[in-house]
Subunit: 443 residues, 2 copies
């Protein structure tokens, strides 16, 4: 069994089986994978104890990854419901899942998710720690580390730790319209104020690194001060924390611990590129894992769309992983259908960025579905769709509505779509224009 | 009654009532509105015969507009269904609507839409012309102009005319993966090949301008060669037509006819900005009215999202109006629910661009909803949502699912959302952190 982290092994010039699998799936030479991991520009979250993991790399040289958050709220206790969400997330293409459970039988839910998941599993350990105390102010560094260690032994591949949020940053966040919207960040800030002490994860960062090193847990440095609305974006609080995170990135790498950095949040469209560039500079190219970002505050019920816009642009300008946002964001916890809508919206965002960045093979699926369109091969179009079930359902609905209007029998094999009808199909007409379609008109 | 076009009057230094209304709704000085119209950088589509029109301006200095396409297919004949779609489009904020009906009682449907619509109405006159001949090859320039004139007298505010697609461009399009996907473009191209003649709208462009001048119809120069897939984007065919359109823009302006330019289509994310810049250069800053663009071909069923991504970026980089795309794109004709989803997705895209461009008052709605979030004022949040019904429905669903899990009575007045539950709300915790929230921590 592997004993060192991917980062340490890559630094020694060792190619691990995980790197080999990444090279194959990303269609890149193995030495590029190894050098990206060795430099810290990419991570391969792969806890030594996560059996059955299909490893992936998160970094700028690789396909953009998407994460789906699942997990219960403070009150429900239903591992089977969370496993159903997990299966939905995986079916539609989530590259990682985070279990954000905050109450009930957290351990049991997490065990079920790790056992079921072939993709890396992430957590926010402070959530479990909070479930173990009556008052959040009773948290201790010892308890936090105890939880981290238990989760590491359980097989968690990456953990969000809000270690960059320092006591001196809190007054900056008090000036905001929405204050601190990260749950871990808000609790940490209140704890620091109540005890007049520094962030316990920051004070015990070396002990945290020891645990991560032992099990190869990838740290995901959480942005406890991410903006919660457009008005708070790119402010002094956000960037003060980012500077502290940059220092922690260097400590992780020096210790041989894989690390990525979490980012906003709510960001106006014109500030997305700047935010991506700033993270790369401040955090020495550590993979940036962003939440959306949503680019408008006023569309509750459609935040999978507001954030797919921000996510596509973020990935194009430098983010390596996008945390999905579902239509329920700002309204409630997602159910399985929300998970589906969130995952597909983010597959689109990630894919659009990968095509634009010319990632190996990225446009093949688009070209294949376009060929199927030209050939009126509906079944092939459906197979190639990011969500074949949805595409089939909508086409069936349109056909049924059309034949209902025409008051005649439905024939789903008609080789036209109901947009134009049989007599007015642009592609059929286009194909009838005389002249060789392979001629080179430039000559 | 006004006799000249907005362009001619603006050129004479006359401020029309339409310009005054635009200045008020856009919160801009009247002389800016007038000079934008006079230069042709903006249009105010307002047919002299469209009673009850609430005028809007389309141009780079103004709020990004969105258009919703409605209209029947070749076979159905139901004005009431189209009026229902119109009402849905207007309810959710469409700035213009296009009636794309291609068959049945086109005139009756259009009359109903113009009578009901307070927003500008656009059409593609070749669709009606085609409904009047047995074989598309029987089209004549006379018939096309006859239809344009009839529609102009009926009160159509703007018309898509594919006059820039020239005979010599067709071989370029034959080289493509998907050929010609514009219906008007495909018919025109086949007609030119069959008759070995130039585009009739191009040959009779002066006669067309006479009609537009008389009724103040705004021309929307259609991109008959817009790419139908990522592989065909930004190719020789597309840009050859754009050059011809640029020449036509100058002829329109010289004749006193308002003009805008239509654009793609399917465009990879990295080519969106370039496409916007190229249009501005080639077409002397004529308002650019783009269809999406979709930034991925492989997501049928979700093309409102693929295109909202492209649309937001397009508007940020130069487009003045976005034509919506519904989830049914590439699958069938939209129903009222599809219209709703398309309109809201594009309101988001347009709004995100307006916020990013710093348009007057654009962020007020976001700031207000964020204030309501901070105050846990759920009713106010719902009122400010782009689609209040959807936001309310999703919140109710989440609350019901949560109380179902907790097996206790539902209380919708709880001042927390089901994302975090009552004990773990980041914003509540954040508000409890001691220290004045108005302090200036920089000092």
């Amino acid at each position: 069994m592997r004993k060192d982290t991917q980062l340490i092994l890559a630094g020694k010039g060792v190619s691990t089986p995980e790197m080999e699998k990444v090279a194959e799936s990303e269609r890149l030479p193995l030495d590029i994978v190894r050098s990206e991991v060795a430099s810290g520009r990419a991570v391969i979250p792969a806890n030594l104890h996560h059996a059955g993991l299909a490893p992936i790399a998160i970094g700028r040289r690789f396909r953009t990854k998407i994460n789906a958050n699942i997990g219960n709220s403070a009150v429900s206790s239903c591992p089977s419901a969370e496993v159903e969400k997990l299966k939905t997330a995986l079916k539609y293409g989530a590259d990682t899942v985070m279990d954000l459970s905050t109450g009930g039988n957290i351990c049991e839910i997490r065990a079920a998710i790790i056992a079921e998941s072939r993709v890396p599993v992430g957590t926010v350990p402070i959530y479990e720690a909070l479930s173990l105390v009556d008052d959040p102010m009773d948290l201790t560094a010892e308890l936090l580390l105890e939880v981290v260690e238990r989760q590491a032994r359980q097989g968690v591949d990456y953990m969000t730790i809000h270690a960059g949020l320092l006591k001196e940053h809190v007054p900056l966040a008090k000036k905001r319209k929405l204050g601190i919207v990260s749950r871990g960040g808000a609790v940490t800030a209140k704890w620091m104020a109540a005890h007049d002490r520094q962030n316990p994860f920051h004070e015990e960062f070396d002990a945290l690194l020891d645990i991560c090193l032992e099990h190869d847990v990838t740290l995901s440095l959480g942005d406890g001060l991410r903006p919660g609305c457009l008005a708070d974006a790119s402010d002094a609080a956000q960037f003060a924390e980012l500077d502290a995170i940059g220092d922690l990135v260097r400590r992780c790498r020096a210790a041989g611990v894989q690390v990525m950095v979490e980012g906003p949040g709510h960001v106006p469209l014109d500030q997305v590129a700047m935010n991506m560039e700033r993270e790369r500079e401040v955090c020495d190219d550590a993979p940036f894992y962003i939440l959306g970002p949503v680019v408008a505050d006023c569309a509750p019920g459609y935040d999978h769309i507001t954030s797919a816009i921000g996510g596509a642009l973020g990935a194009f300008h430098g983010a390596s992983m996008l945390c999905y946002v579902t239509p329920k964001e700002h309204l409630g916890l997602p159910n399985a259908e929300d998970v589906r809508n969130g995952v597909v919206a983010f597959k689109i965002a990630a894919h659009a960025a990968d095509v634009a960045l010319g990632r190996p093979g990225a446009r093949e699926r688009d070209d294949a579905i376009s060929d199927a369109r030209a050939a009126f091969d509906w079944e092939r179009q459906m197979e190639l769709a990011l969500d074949p079930d949805r595409a089939r359902d909508l086409r069936s609905e349109a056909i049924a509505e059309r034949y209902d209007l025409e008051k005649r029998e439905c024939n789903p094999d008609d080789d036209f779509c109901s947009m134009c009808g049989p007599k007015f199909c642009s592609m059929k007409i286009s194909a009838e224009i005389p002249g060789p379609s392979t001629m080179d008109a430039d000559e």
